[in-house]
């Protein structure tokens, strides 16, 4: 029984495999590390951007004020002594502001120096005094400390964003202005408060008076138009394509169209809006109505696609049961399928709205980039939207505007987070697994 054992090749393969094993495992670890690195990098970008913007923007939520010892001189405000509201309104309050600044710094003389002194406070300080007087005419003749808005340069300096060691010619504040500010700070006549102006004012050329209220209202009206148009049309289209449309060439064309529209660059929609709504139909430029129309065309595909997905997730048994009970097709959809698909459709619409809120390129085309101080009050008023306001402010060189831009971005991002969070909650809360 001489069985010859076959040569053991296993040993050889083992050797070969073992020889390469270390290298292969190293390659494996390397590849894994690359993957982890990529994810980390991506996440790092997210953190970096948020940190960068929040770091730049959070000081904008505080604003510097200066306390002026104002003497409400009757000779200036109301020389005739009638307390006539009209006269009170038209009086020259700038004189009072200048007088109180001179009182704070009696040593300052010479036109040049005085002009610099007057520039410590914002140009809206006289209006502040006026509203004080109109609210309380008894002030006339009295002396009262009033906190007025500091100018943007003072504000930037107080926040530590102007380097005092820099050469005088390289910074926006002169040496003596810094001395005055230091003096005011020492006597507690400069403080910082929560910046309500940011949320209550429209745009302005003066950074300390510029706010995002106008842009927020513009965004609101624009999105209102967008929602009122896209939601019904989007839902109707989704229902038609998913529940009623016959499978033929025409519906195929519609489907391909919708998918392509979802990928058309947004700026092309702006060209469409300019050529059709403004030049052909003669609608006014800069109006939220036109902006809303353009954004509707842009978000419609998003809502249709989300709506169809929501409809397909409703099981066919529901439809069959409804039809079996004698419902018409429209009753089946209206009473059963649509209510069940509604949470999904709403989620899709909110996400579409969030995208429309952040969109700015097509709105540049239809004139929503104008400098608009007034807060829009309707669909036809000239307006701008929050992202476009950010774009406009980002172009301005003043440091104070950089701060405000970042603050506006924070507000925009907060809205995005709220909207997307709402969508997620809606999905979690109403999602049904069949």
């Amino acid at each position: 029984m001489n069985k010859s054992t076959p040569p053991a090749p296993t040993r050889d393969i083992k050797v070969i495999v073992n020889a390469g094993l270390q290298r292969r495992h190293a390659a494996e670890r390397r590849f894994r590390a690359y993957g982890l690195l990529a994810v980390t990098l991506g996440l790092a970008f997210v953190v970096l951007m948020f940190a960068n913007i929040i770091g730049k923007g959070y000081p904008a939520f505080w604003q510097t004020y200066i306390e002026l010892p104002v003497t409400f001189d009757p000779a200036v405000i109301d020389p005739e002594g009638h307390r006539d509201p009209k006269a009170l309104e038209n009086a020259d309050y700038a004189v009072l502001v200048r007088a109180s600044l001179r009182k704070l710094f009696p040593q300052v003389e010479g036109r040049r120096d005085l002009r610099e002194l007057y520039q410590l406070v914002s140009s809206n300080a006289p209006f502040r005094l006026r509203s004080e007087v109109l609210n309380n005419p008894a002030l006339i003749g009295a002396e009262q400390p009033i906190w007025v808005l500091a100018s943007a340069n003072v504000d930037t300096f107080v926040k530590g964003n102007i380097d005092r060691t820099l050469d005088e010619s390289l910074r926006p504040l002169k040496d003596q202005e810094i001395v005055w500010i230091d003096q005011l700070q020492a006597s507690g006549q400069i403080n910082q408060r929560f910046n309500t102006i940011l949320f209550s004012n429209g745009d302005s050329r003066e950074p300390e008076q510029a706010g995002i209220r106008g842009a927020l209202m513009g965004s609101f009206y624009t999105l209102l138009v967008t929602f009122l148009l896209t939601f019904p049309i989007g839902v109707a289209t989704a229902v038609y394509l998913e529940e009623f449309a016959p499978k033929n060439r025409w519906t195929d064309i519609i489907e391909v169209n919708i998918n392509n529209l979802a990928a058309v660059p947004s700026i092309v929609f702006g060209l469409l809006g300019l050529a059709v709504f403004i030049n052909f139909f003669g609608l006014p430029r800069s109006a939220p109505l036109v902006g809303g129309l353009v954004l509707s065309l842009m978000t419609l595909p998003v809502i249709i696609i989300a709506g169809r997905a929501a409809l397909t997730s409703v099981p066919p048994s529901i439809r069959e049961a409804a039809l079996g009970m004698g419902a018409s097709k429209l009753q089946m959809v209206g009473h059963h399928v649509l209510p069940l698909a509604m949470p999904g459709m709403l989620t899709g619409s909110i996400i579409g709205m969030a995208r429309a809120l952040g969109e700015s390129a097509p709105l540049l085309m239809i004139g929503m980039v104008a400098f608009i101080v007034d807060i829009p009050k309707g669909l036809m008023d000239p307006a701008t939207v929050l992202p476009v306001q950010i774009y406009l402010w980002a172009d301005l060189p003043e440091r104070a505007f950089v701060e405000r831009t970042s603050a506006a971005i924070m507000v925009l991002l907060a809205f995005m987070i709220v909207m997307n969070g709402l969508a997620i909650i809606l999905r979690k809360r109403f999602e049904r697994r069949w």
């Binding site: 494996e28 049309i233 989007g234 058309v264 702006g270 249709i304 774009y391």
Partner: protein
Amino acid sequence: MLFYLFVTLALLSLSGYYLGRKRAFAVAGDHIRNLHSLPSYYGSYTALWCGLPALILFTVWAALQPSMIIELVVASLPPELRNLSPGQLNLVVNDIKNLVSGNIVSSTPDAAILAAVDHYRHLQMVGNVALWVVVLTLAIAGIAHGWRAISPTLRARNRVEQVVNLFLITSSTVAIFTTLGIVLSVLFESMLFFGKVPISEFLFGLQWSPQTAIRADQTGSSGAFGMVPLFTGTLLISGIAMVVAVPIGLMSALYLSEYASPKFRASAKPALEVLAGIPTVVYGFFAALTVAPLIRDIGTALGLQVASESALAAGLVMGIMIIPFVSSLSDDVINAVPQSMRDGSYALGATKSETIQRVLLPAALPGIVGSILLAVSRAIGETMIVVMAAGLSANLTANPLEAVTTVTVQIVTLLTGDQEFDSAKTLAAFALGLMLFIVTLILNIIALHVVRKYREQYE
């Protein structure tokens, strides 16, 4: 004014609904089953008769009234004003409109214009009163008609459903009309442009300086419309973006779907997708104010000439923006590869990375290519980042440290601000838009086709 009419109309329709329903109960006699449809359908039938014709008339009237009034006002102007050139006449009409809405006009208006303003106001009032009367009459007539038509044999449900069906079909055609609108408007203006500038010069010209001379003797404003430098600029920036986005996006998709624990994946994937939700204007701000100065400082430290609006800065930030597109699209594609293929590779003793490189990637390649193409089309059409961070002058260069301009930047700069609508400069923007539309459309069609083909392969 019009808003109140709208509300009144809605209220009338509502009362039409109740009247119709009541009428249905009344005609049903002793039992409701005598009716063909449910009573609410009779109500809706009446409400539709009330609201729909009135609403259509209302819309048409409101759209036509302003131009009709202007027509009448112009016709009533004294002949010396009426015979002005169209441009001047337009100014007069604008003055009148401004006076009507109570705005300040440039010059003190003369008697003829003031008379025209009064005439305008009068016509406006007459028009509005007439609109109210006609619309409300029509609405009430509609209710009456619907109410009279109601009988137990009236097929109210079918009628109402017909109307709803019509609404559904009309809605679904909006997408078609949008595409048509885009194509026609862009094409029409481009044709006008190509009438002024030959198409060959536009497609192959190497010079882009859209300043056309206002006077013949002006220098430095010859007006050159060659789009090659714009497209190379666009490609340069998009190229840089893809160099950033493809490796990071693809590798993170691979890591998240093949290596990461479900817990890590569940938190990292949405966090990465935050990048896709950030508005592009924010990226633009980040690129212009943080990344571009940073790159310039680094460049100066290395002794390199870096433009302050370098293509590199815009490209890098655009790449960050595109990471989530690449990663989530490739994630879908990678997950579509059947598990059996991975198992087969593991059974042969391959390590995970070998499986990914030799089995998974080749199998998923078409899908990945498709998703990269989609990302490229996204990068080409991206506007805000480049408007804020890229340059304005058209340089024909491949150096990422220099400033280049892109198609979208030029469209924006040509079309913002006041422009007359027949100059080659404004029309050029539409020609560029047409090119952009065509290029992205082709990329999308190819990408969608590839992705779909690939999905079918594994289904």
